[in-house]
């Protein structure tokens, strides 16, 4: 059987100041799935994401990416994990630090050892996937917020990840940019984990949704079932926007 893209077993984590954020997370995500990770502020979503590529060291429990254990001590293994788990951070200004769009997209694959024509090819392809090819030589701060978010996605796609992890992908986007990003995400052949508060976006893009609340996964079902369970949403400080209903 195919190894799942992501397997999390009994993951618990406390910050050095004693503040515990995760209390035993279990989750399996199969290849090609798109899963929405829902949950109120402070539920531990970001903490969980930071574990997926070994930025936070696992203190209790295990994480496997395509069957390989994420181990913060194993520097070589970690390099591979980081190419497989592509995280798109919430603020594109945090993600785009190189002087031009093209150089930024090249950053990841360069670290993976690509050079010359091969590197060029990967960059061109990644920018084409998000429809930003003609902005290759522009500095990031000249782009609109929506364009920067798309470039941020390209920087991660250039590493050919097994899983694409997006932190609030629709935040601060105008409706057209939000839809364009959805089209891009749908067109990609990759496993997606989407951390979001945007319920309609989750419904539109992900067939499956999990709710993380107070450091533990309290629901894991088809997105439609999760979003139509009023009591479940209410208990976890989640709400559908006014006027939005799922039939």
């Amino acid at each position: 059987m195919l190894e799942p893209s992501l397997k999390i077993e009994e993951l618990a984590f406390a910050y050095p100041d004693g503040n515990q954020a995760l209390f035993g997370v279990n989750l399996v995500i199969n290849k090609g799935e798109r899963v929405a990770l829902l949950g109120p502020n402070g539920a531990g979503k970001t903490t969980l994401v930071m574990h997926l590529n070994g930025i936070h060291e696992t203190t209790h429990g295990k994480i496997f990416v395509s069957g390989q254990l994420v181990d913060a001590q194993d520097k070589e293994g970690l390099k591979k994990i980081r190419s497989q788990v592509g995280i798109v951070f919430q603020d594109p200004d945090d993600q785009l630090f190189m002087p031009t769009v093209g150089e930024d997209v090249a950053f990841g694959p360069y670290n993976m050892g690509l050079r010359g024509a091969e590197l060029e090819k990967v960059v061109t392809k990644a920018l084409a996937l998000v429809g930003m090819s003609e902005y290759k030589d522009r500095p990031p701060h000249h782009l609109s917020f929506g364009q920067r978010r798309r470039v941020a996605v390209a920087t991660v796609l250039a590493m050919k990840p097994e899983i694409l992890v997006l932190d609030e992908p629709s935040s601060n986007l105008d409706p057209a940019s939000r839809r364009e990003l959805a089209d891009i995400l749908r067109s990609l052949d990759v496993t997606v984990v989407m951390v979001t508060h945007d319920m309609p976006y989750a419904y539109e893009l992900c067939e499956r949704a999990v709710i993380l609340s107070q450091g533990i996964i309290v629901a894991d079902d088809k997105t439609k079932n999760v979003l139509t369970n009023e009591k479940l949403l209410k208990d976890n400080r989640l709400e559908l926007p006014v006027g939005f209903s799922i039939n």
Binding site: K79, Q95, P99, F107, G108, Y110, H141
Partner: protein, 272 residues
């Protein structure tokens, strides 16, 4: 109800002079010239060699300084940089010149007087030397920064084997200076929206608090950027351009400036 559209277009003359908001590229002036087209590291080497010749010239050989200044004027013309622009930008040296102006009045040794004022010869020479050499240095820096983008200068320094760490720090500064100034501007607008306008010393406390907040925000952003870099496999080295060989012809073109200066200097020594 959908309204009829009646757009009011504001003409460019009404807008007045447009200031680029790009802090990192503010100095660069786009022109097509030989000076602009030279590779950045070649330009940097030429500039430093020229300065080296200038610095090793004694101020008593004033004829040479006239020659150096005419070389600079020539370079400005070739680079299509307006003299007026170079002159305005060179005003940056005024604080240093003020110091040099005081030098003839203080010192020891041989004295002479012009009208009612007593001057020291050594102090006068030292002051003239600072003004002369300083002005040439500033002008060379202006030519370099007006004909080369900040990004290119960094590439040049990288090619000249400046330590990676310094190049990285400088390029991050270049990337984030706009983000931070935008943030600063947003904070100013937020203050002003609540009726605050800094007018005097009594407002310094608020400005200092804002500066501290900006510092903390920038620090936290630094941490997030670092996380984003680690997530894409950063291990201490930023990607850099593949090295391309620069032809001898280009080097000769660029080194004409320091060569002419050196030649004049040597001729002067022989002639004496």
């Amino acid at each position: 109800m959908v309204r009829n559209i009646n757009k009011i277009e504001i003409s460019h003359t009404e807008l007045g002079h447009h200031h680029g908001h790009d802090v990192g590229e503010r100095l660069y002036l786009h022109r097509h010239s030989i000076v602009h087209s030279l590779p950045p590291h070649v330009k940097i080497v030429a500039a430093f060699m020229f300065l080296f010749v200038v610095i090793s010239t004694s101020i008593t050989q004033w004829q040479l300084f006239i020659f150096y200044f005419s070389l600079i004027l020539l370079t400005l013309t070739v680079a299509k940089i307006p003299i007026k622009l170079a002159a305005t930008r060179s005003l940056i040296e005024i604080p240093f010149v003020l110091f040099a102006v005081l030098m003839p009045f203080f010192g020891t040794g041989e004295q002479f007087s012009i009208g009612p004022v007593d001057l020291y010869r050594a102090g006068l020479l030292a002051g003239l030397s600072i003004v002369g050499k300083g002005t040439i240095g500033v002008l060379i820096a202006i030519i370099l920064s007006t004909s080369t983008t900040a990004r290119e200068i960094l590439r040049g320094l990288e090619k000249l084997k400046l330590p990676q760490l310094m190049v990285q720090i400088a390029s991050f500064m270049l990337r984030y200076v706009n983000v931070v100034t935008d943030e600063m501007e947003r904070m100013r607008v937020a203050r002003a929206s609540r009726g605050f306008e800094a007018t005097g010393i009594k407002h310094w406390k608020i400005l200092a608090t804002a500066a501290a907040a900006l510092f903390i925000r920038s620090y936290e952003r630094g941490e997030r950027v670092h996380l984003a870099m680690l997530s894409r496999g950063y291990d201490g080295v930023l990607p850099h351009e593949e090295v391309t060989k620069v032809s001898v012809k280009i080097w000769i073109k660029a080194l004409t400036l320091p060569f002419l200066a050196l030649l004049a200097h040597l001729l002067m020594i022989v002639w004496k």
